[in-house]
Symmetry: C2
Subunit: 457 residues, 2 copies
């Protein structure tokens, strides 16, 4: 019989790993408690939004944000602090205005979308065609939009998991191109917003060679009311903007070097760039703050592996994640796990760990440590990770999804309302507590997510 | 004994007035029910906000609003529709911008206050002094504001009765003058707002000969955060505006003539002018809509007395109430009661009737009719009436207070967020139901509020 020796060996392993797990659990629990009352996360986001504010890629403010990031990481004791430059296309807003000129003269509140073309100098006036859903516009007969401004007024749904955004995202991202194909001279879309303020929400789009802008939700409804009366409604747009095909950008990096396995690296971060109307508090100063604070707290326990924080420098208009993956493809096998926080500062309400990792002692310790926070642990593997780690994921890096409650996120996202006062300090601290516990248990164990996922020993 | 004949006479009176009261109750109750499902109020406000929008006194839009008012009253069957012209000073906004230029360059969201002076061409830059309460500014030592921009960041309290506004109103209305007296070169006040959007709230102020503007609430907090760092914070303001000392304005009037006592008049209305950033939906298109719809419904029962609707033409910058009182002082004894609706479209949650009138059969009928709406009937007499009936009240006209739930009102008031979508149709209809029932019971009875108040028989 071979069963006894096997059992004995298992028991021995169990005892050893149980002791390790108990130590990890105790340390991760202490980190959780410390994080819940630690002001580090709040201090980082307060500093960034106050001292820098909005920081679109390609702007002077983004240079100030880069310098802020380097100084902040050094101030907090990170080492190997440096910037990794890259270039990427950057669209910049100029003066913008919109108004109904007939039959009911009224000003409209708009924000141009990324890659929007400018109008001719002096503006552009044309009758509008209102579509209550995006599908209706796609199904419009050929020529229906020739010489017209296409207006899509479809309403976004508020959801806890943010899926209302995915469901309607094409209205903004693909709308300008689809309208242009059908002959439209400009495109207006109801903001992808779940609030009812008169502040429009901008965002990336596919251009299409025509001026394209988001209407505030009350303005989209105003145009519906006007169009319902049956008379031609003439809108004048005056929008200026510029494109820089190769704007200078930077990923800002800092590390806490591992004590015994410094070449094994945990990569976490958020993106430092933002859209221009707000101060980039929830998108994504919060992610930068959460990850910087969590890494600092976890690093304070002097774990085995290296913890690296990356402040990606061009998420909104794209480029920083790919640049990072390109620069780090040779060390991909050394990246133990990657994570990004980029859905604001709402409570983490559910999470997915890499496939088959939940029974590993390190992850059991992590889950025990965050038990009091009552987070739903999904049985399915992570799906997304984050825009800036997508390149690493494609190269094979393990990753996690720690999903934040997005109920209010899309009230504020990409609008002037993305400001510090919208962040609830206790919710921000909960995020720091979860990430700090996770980062620590991975960094101070030998968990190998790749092996667990493939069943290799 | 004379008691029996007295009792008999009382019984006779009681029987007669009881029959009248029963008839009034039945008709007022029917009006209440009709109003709750009648779209008239909604249709009026939808029409005004869509076809006219913002309508500051002295603007071309106010001329369109005047024509809209005349046409709407005629369309709804009012008679004696006319305009009563007057002149009044009018302040008009020009281009405005504000930014922190050092040490942390960021744009600020402002709206100039009424009577604000323009800045010199090219703008004005100065260091700020932040006061967390208005009282602190008033107590600042002589010369503390010399050459500075005074900033008051006191927060408004949200209340159901709107008293949070009264408590802080002087910060805006008197602040510019008080800051100027102390040597300030400009004045910035945290918006009198109970919301956290980045939209500032404008309003009337005393001028003071300096530029004066409201900051959005996030911008007020941003300046607090910057000032906390101790370095001089330099703000640049560029504000243009103009004053017309004698702008043409109009009160728009329509009547439903009384069947048997046409010279006895019930005067009700709202104000047709609005501030410029929103579409004047809650302030005060709603009041215009509520009173127009209520008068039409009450008038449909062909009551004894005349019902007059007035759309006052310059409440925000003042003038229309005084002009109305001046023009109508000779008929003051014929004005049975006056009422104004000017706190949005929230539910009427309590009301005050004129002194000692609650036991009159007409008011008993009214209170029975609105019983199902569960409105608190205050024991104290009315206190305010409304800005546009203040002149009539000074001349002796009886009046009522029907108080609307103001919980959300100051989220929106005087900002770009004052738009149609903020009005809940069922709440608007409740207002129409209450006013229609009241107007009808007064118009179809012989109640004399003056006599009841003085105890005269």
């Amino acid at each position: 019989m071979r069963i006894l020796p096997v059992l004995a060996a298992s028991a021995l392993v169990f005892t050893a790993s149980s002791a390790i797990a108990q130590d990890l659990t105790a340390k991760a629990s202490a980190l959780r408690e410390k994080a819940l009352s630690d002001p580090s996360g709040w201090n980082v986001i307060e500093s960034l939004t106050t001292e820098v504010g909005a920081r679109p890629v390609g702007s002077p403010a983004m240079e100030r944000a880069r310098d802020w990031g380097v100084a902040k990481l050094k101030e907090l004791g990170f080492t190997n602090v440096h910037v990794e430059p890259f270039t990427t296309p950057a669209w910049s807003r100029g003066a913008e205005s919109a108004e109904v000129v007939a039959p009911y003269p009224q000003k409209l509140h708009i924000l141009g979308l990324g890659k929007s073309s400018p109008t001719p100098a002096g503006g552009l006036s044309a009758p509008i065609v209102v579509f209550h859903t995006y599908r209706e516009m796609l199904e419009a007969p050929d020529g229906a939009l020739k010489g017209k401004i296409a207006v899509v007024t479809e309403k976004m749904t508020k959801t806890q998991d943010g899926s209302g955004y995915g469901g309607i995202n094409a209205n903004r991202t693909s709308g300008p191109g689809e309208a242009a194909k059908r002959g439209a001279v400009a495109y207006l879309v109801r903001s992808l917003s779940t609030d009812d303020t008169r502040l429009p929400h901008t965002g990336g789009a596919n251009g299409g060679g025509i001026p394209a802008a988001a209407l505030s939700t009350p303005d989209a409804e105003l145009l519906e009311h006007m169009a319902d009366r049956g008379k031609p409604v003439i809108v004048k747009l005056d929008m200026q903007s510029s494109n820089n095909p190769a704007a200078q950008a930077w990923n800002v990096v800092g590390e806490i070097r591992g004590s015994t396995a410094p070449d094994e690296v945990i990569v976490v971060g958020g993106h430092l760039d933002s859209w221009d109307p707000g101060t980039g508090a929830i998108d994504d100063g919060a992610g930068v703050a959460i990850m910087t604070a969590a890494a600092k707290l976890a690093g304070g326990a002097k774990p085995r592996r290296t913890i690296r924080v990356v402040m990606w420098g061009s998420e909104e208009q794209g480029g920083s994640g790919q640049a990072y993956a390109n620069a780090h493809k040779d060390e991909i096998s050394k990246i133990v796990v990657a994570g990004e926080s980029d859905t604001g500062a709402g409570l983490i309400w559910n999470l997915s760990l890499p496939k088959d990792s939940a029974d590993h002692p390190a992850m059991k310790a992590f889950l025990r440590a965050i038990g009091p926070l009552k987070i739903i642990v999904k049985r399915t593997p992570p799906q997304f990770g984050g825009s800036d780690i997508a390149g690493l994921i494609l190269l094979g890096a393990p990753f996690v999804d720690f999903n934040q409650d997005a109920t209010r996120y899309f009230d504020l996202h990409h609008s002037a309302d993305d400001t510090l006062d919208k962040i609830v300090p206790a919710e921000l601290a909960q995020n720091v507590a979860v990430w700090a516990s996770f980062i620590y248990t991975v960094a101070d164990s030998d968990i190998d997510f790749r092996k667990l996922a493939t069943g290799a020993q």
